[in-house]
Every structure is written in structure tokens, then in C-alpha cells.
Amino acid sequence: MSRLLKHRELLLVAIIVALVAAFAYRAPGFASPESLANIFNDTSILIILALGQMAVVLTRSIDLSVAANLSFTGMAIAMINAAFPEIPLAILIAAALGIGAMLGAINGLLVWKVNIPPIVVTLGTLTIYRGMAFVLSGGTWVNQNQMTPDFLNAPRLPVLGLPLLSWTAILVVVVMVVLFTRTVFGRALYASGGNPTAALYAGIDVGRTRFFAFVLSGALAGLCGYLWVSRYAVAYVDIAVGFELDTVAACVIGGISTLGGIGTIAGAVLGSLFLGVIKNALPVIDISPFWQMAISGLVIIIAVTFNARQERRKGRMILRDAAKSRARPSELAEGAAA
């Protein structure tokens, strides 16, 4: 049990399985493969955004502008699609990534070059980006009949039994795993959040690493802008209002430390799935969707309390070290490897 508690990911899997089982008991069919696939598909956008958020949080920052970025980019892409239906989808998606990355770069530059705390920067750009979506659209909606069928259908296209939206999330997860664990940038994310001084001593540019984390988060938010408007077949200023909180919640639940440097992709994905399961279960067990916001809030608080218990500075552990140094070296090596 204590091992389980140590491994956040295992604990989360256990909780999610228990939740699904409990809901399935109330509403048979909740645990059917189709239903589960549906939940996953429904959570895809959150997973993608949470991974972007995770990159930022790892560097001891926070990006509250992701949902506003999503709204602006989604609106821009939908309007381009409505005005120029002949532009191919691939270019639109590239444009979504590009616009999102640019908005992220603005955040990143303000954090890196001007040294403004990330919370202030993104609290500001959160309103600015959404306001820009209003200015861009003049407050009007882009409706289903204005968008091209290609634009609308791509995320729904079934491939091997799963819609393309789910596959996109899976692809993003795979790319992120490689990025975080196998590239110098990915390791720099962990290093610069875990101990900025040591990162400096190791020749890692903490500010630049943060900048690229914001660009990454922005690009993923832009991608989600397209995914969101095509999935819900409508673009308006207020889409995904407050969704940035869900991304933070997913990270916190997944054990990503808001103090930086700690967390795994699996954690962020499971944190998102946890929220996804709850969101999809509420209507099934006859609880009003109005409960969801309070539940997210409560879960954030519980999760951050839980994380803090694990991260608590333990002091120098002089007595433990003293005991260790009296142990025989060979035992030590084994103990350490275990």
C-alpha cells in the first residue's frame, strides 16, 4: 500500500478503475468499450492541453492563457475556413499551431526577457487573447453551415475503431514522451524547474527553457483551438471559458509539482482521464453537470495537499546519513539500486 501511495501513477490508475467500476454498478454500460472509448475521445483535448501546461509547470511557471489562446486561435481558423473554403485543412492546422505558438511566445518573452511573474503575464494575456477573439469576430458566431465538411469531419474520422481526435491525443502523448525524456530540451525542463541555480551551473539557460515551454503550451493550445471548433462545430468568443483551470487541475492531480521539476507524462494523462471520467459519469448517475466545477475545485485542493505532503523538505537527514555511512559499501550500492 505504501508503495502504491509512492507511485502516484499506480494510485491514480487504481482510483480511476475503482471509479469506473462504481459508476458501472449504478449504470451498466458505463464500462463498455464504446463508452470508455467515448470518454477517452471526450478527454482528448484536455489531455493535449494538460501536456502543454505540464511543460510550463515543470519550469515553475503557470499558463492561465491556454483557454483564451484556444478560443482566439479557434475563432481565427474557423473564420479563415469560412472565408476561404479552398484552403486545405493541413495548412489550416499548421496555421493553428503557428498562431498558438505565437501567442505562447508572447507569454514566454514577457516571462523570459522582461522578467514578469508568469501568473501575472498569463492572467493579463488571458483577458487580452479572449478580447482579441471578440475584436476579430465582432462578437458573431461561426456556425456549422459556414465551415467546410473537411474541416468539420476530420477529428471524427474513424481509424482502427477510434476517431482521429483520439489518435491525435495519442500522437501528442507519444511525441511528448520522446520530447520530455529523450531530448535535451525535455531534461532542461525538469532541471530548470527542479533547481534553477544548479541548472545555471550546468550551463542551462533557465529563461530560454521557460520561453520554449510557453511556446509549446501555446502551440498545443492552438491545435486544440482547431480541434475544439471542429468537434463542437461552432466558434464563438466564450468557448472553453475556464478550461485553463481544468488543465491545471489535471496536472496537480497527476502529481506535477507546482514548485517545478517533478512530474510524469503518465501522471498528467491520468489526471486528465480522472477529470474526464467524472465529467462523463455525472449525467449517467443523475447528478447535474453544475456539480462539475465544485468537484474540480475540491479535487485540486485535495491533490495539492497530497502533493505537498510528498514534497515536504525533509531537512538534511543527518542521522539517516550517519547510519548509512556506517553500513557496508556493498549493501549501500544494492540498497540504492533497489
Binding site: 514577457l110 492572467l123 488571458l126 507546482t258 465544485a294 485540486i300
Partner: protein
């Protein structure tokens, strides 16, 4: 090598201060803000003939009075190195509670107590998690922001509470001339209850921050929490009190706002946390903690009120105004840094 000298010259007289208080005031952020306030005032009165109308001006104060009352408490909280992003959600919850109490037939005094009480409770909850358990305030209050507004949402759904007693309307809509015992001068026809409350709250927080030992401890904690703790300052308790005060002022703002609107929806005061933080930062409060003044925040509140009022007269929609507020927040912090950098580069 020189020998060790441990002679004792007569103690040298160290002056208290280097520059006079007046000199220091001249270069301060507050004076700059005052100049900006005057400039905006003149620009607005030139741009619109309706601006100088006393009734319009009186109306315009509603743009900032409620937010400013929270901003004063938030100022102390930010100076201490913490932040509370749940203030708008506290308003929503307090307002919902008052709505429910009104439905149950309670009178105005009970409603006000409910509003303030819920505010205090929410503040205590935040304070407990941050000061006692030691969690980071940004994440905690992002969580409670969801939780408090979420509870309001559970209670209200997409319904609204209304039907507040007539006497309750006075807080958000009353003028001082409505008081039977208040001197019946013509000016008090346009002075609202909220304006008076704004001035009183500003005074109380100004004195608390600048004239008391409590305020001094707040600065010490914000500048160096370890040194403060190592100096015997009760850090936990001080921070807890600050969260309580912020909750209380959010409750009070909820009373005023609910009274002014006459109804409660779960979206009430949406996005106010941003405006409150912007007000404090515009007033010269360092978001990293340790510095800031109440007079600065008073001026910042007036500046923001005048800007929104002026834009309103020009028919600029609310969401576009929020772009200005977001830009204001970032530019106010960025410009001094950028200027400083340019100047030091020019010097080098």
C-alpha cells in the same frame, strides 16, 4: 602587516534619514499616478460633454468602489507574498447565500451578516490551507475559486435569486442624503454609500498597513519570510488574518454588488479577481511581495474607474475594455523594467 586595532573612537552619530520625506515623495509612484489621474480627468472632460455631470461622475464610482474594497485587503495579502484568486468566487458564494437567506425571508441585517460571514468563512478556509498547511496560495486559490463558484453553481443552476428586501437596496444604490441623521447638504445627494464605504475602508487599511506593528510585520514577511520568522514574527497567524480580511472584504463587496444588482446569478462578478489584482499592481504593489502602499492603490482604483467610465462613454464594449485592463496590468509592470534596462544600457 598592520596590527590589530581595537581602539574605541567616540561613537559616531548616524543620522535618521538622508533625504527629507518631501524629496522622497516627489519621485514616487503615487505622485506619478496622481498626475495620470489628473490627465485622464482633463482628457475625459474634453472628450465628452457628459463627463463632468455630477450624477454621471457619481455613477462612475461604481466602476471601482466595490473592487477597490477588495483590492485594499488584497494589497496587504500581496505585500505579504501571497495572493487570493478566489475573491470573485467568494462574492458569488456570499451572494448566493444571501439570496437563499432572502428567499427564506430574512431581513436586511441578517442578509448582511450572512454575506460577511460567508466571506469570512471562505477567507478562513483559504487561510487555513495556505498559512497552516503551507500550500502555495496560487494553486490553492485557483482550487477554491472553482470550489466556491462551483457551490454557487450547484445551488443556483441557471436560475437567479431575487426578491431582496427594499431596505437592502440601500448599500448598492443609496445616497448619503437618504440617511435621516446625516447633515442635509446638497453634495450628499450625489455621494453614495459606497463612496463613503470606499473612503472608510481605504483609511482603515491605510492605517493598518502604514501605522501599526501588524503592517510592519506584513512588509517583513513579504520581503523575507525566513528572516521574519527568525525574528519571532508569527508568520502563520499574520497570513491567516490577511486571508480572513480578504474574505471579509469580498463578503462586503458581495453585499454592495448584490444590493446594487438586486439579483444573484452564478456568473456574478466573473473575472473580478483579475481586475482586483490589476488594481493593486497598478497601485505600485510588487507582485513578488514586500512593497506597495494604500494611497497608491486608491489612486489606481480611481484611474481604472475613470478609464472604464471614459471608454463606456465612447460606447466601447466590456470585453474590449478588459483588453485594456489586461494590457494595463502587463505594461505597468513591464515598462519600468524596460525603461530601467534601456537607461542602464545607455549609461554603460
Amino acid at each position: 602587516m598592520t596590527a590589530l586595532v581595537v581602539d574605541t573612537p567616540p561613537p559616531r552619530r548616524i543620522p535618521d534619514r538622508l533625504s527629507t520625506p518631501f524629496r522622497r515623495l516627489l519621485g514616487s509612484w503615487e505622485v506619478l499616478l496622481l498626475a495620470v489621474t489628473i490627465a485622464i480627468f482633463i482628457a475625459n472632460s474634453l472628450a465628452s460633454p457628459h463627463f463632468l455631470d455630477p450624477w454621471n461622475l457619481s455613477d462612475a464610482t461604481y466602476n471601482f468602489t466595490e473592487k477597490a474594497m477588495i483590492a485594499f485587503a488584497m494589497t496587504l495579502l500581496i505585500i505579504s507574498g501571497e495572493i487570493d484568486l478566489s475573491v470573485a468566487a467568494i462574492i458569488a458564494l456570499a451572494s448566493t447565500a444571501m439570496g437563499a437567506a432572502a428567499q427564506a425571508g430574512f431581513g436586511t441585517p441578517a442578509l448582511v451578516s450572512v454575506g460577511l460571514g460567508v466571506g469570512l468563512l471562505c477567507g478562513a478556509f483559504n487561510g487555513l490551507l495556505v498559512a497552516r498547511v503551507g500550500l502555495p496560495s496560487i494553486v490553492v486559490t485557483i482550487g477554491t475559486m472553482s470550489l466556491f463558484r462551483g457551490i454557487a453553481q450547484i445551488v443556483l443552476g441557471d436560475q437567479a435569486y431575487g426578491g431582496y428586501p427594499a431596505s437592502f437596496a440601500w448599500f448598492g444604490q443609496g445616497y448619503m442624503s437618504d440617511f435621516p441623521w446625516w447633515p442635509a447638504l446638497p453634495v450628499f445627494e450625489v455621494i453614495t454609500f459606497e463612496m463613503v464605504a470606499f473612503v472608510c475602508v481605504a483609511l482603515v487599511f491605510g492605517i493598518l498597513l502604514h501605522q501599526t506593528a501588524f503592517g510592519r510585520r506584513v512588509y517583513a514577511i513579504g520581503n523575507n519570510v525566513f528572516a521574519a520568522q527568525f525574528s519571532g514574527i508569527p508568520v502563520e497567524r499574520t497570513k491567516f488574518v490577511l486571508f480572513l480580511l480578504t474574505g471579509l472584504m469580498s463578503g462586503f463587496a458581495a453585499v454592495c454588488l448584490t444590493s446594487r444588482l438586486g439579483s444573484t446569478r452564478h456568473t456574478i462578478a466573473a473575472g473580478w479577481e483579475l481586475e482586483v489584482v490589476t488594481m493593486a499592481v497598478l497601485g505600485g504593489v510588487s507582485i513578488l511581495g514586500g512593497s506597495g502602499t494604500i494611497p497608491g492603490v486608491v489612486l489606481a482604483a480611481i484611474v481604472m474607474g475613470l478609464v472604464t467610465f471614459g471608454l463606456g462613454l465612447l460606447n466601447v464594449p466590456g470585453i474590449v475594455m478588459s483588453i485594456f485592463i489586461g494590457l494595463l496590468l502587463i505594461l505597468v509592470i513591464a515598462l519600468p523594467i524596460v525603461f530601467h534596462r534601456i537607461r542602464s544600457r545607455a549609461a554603460a
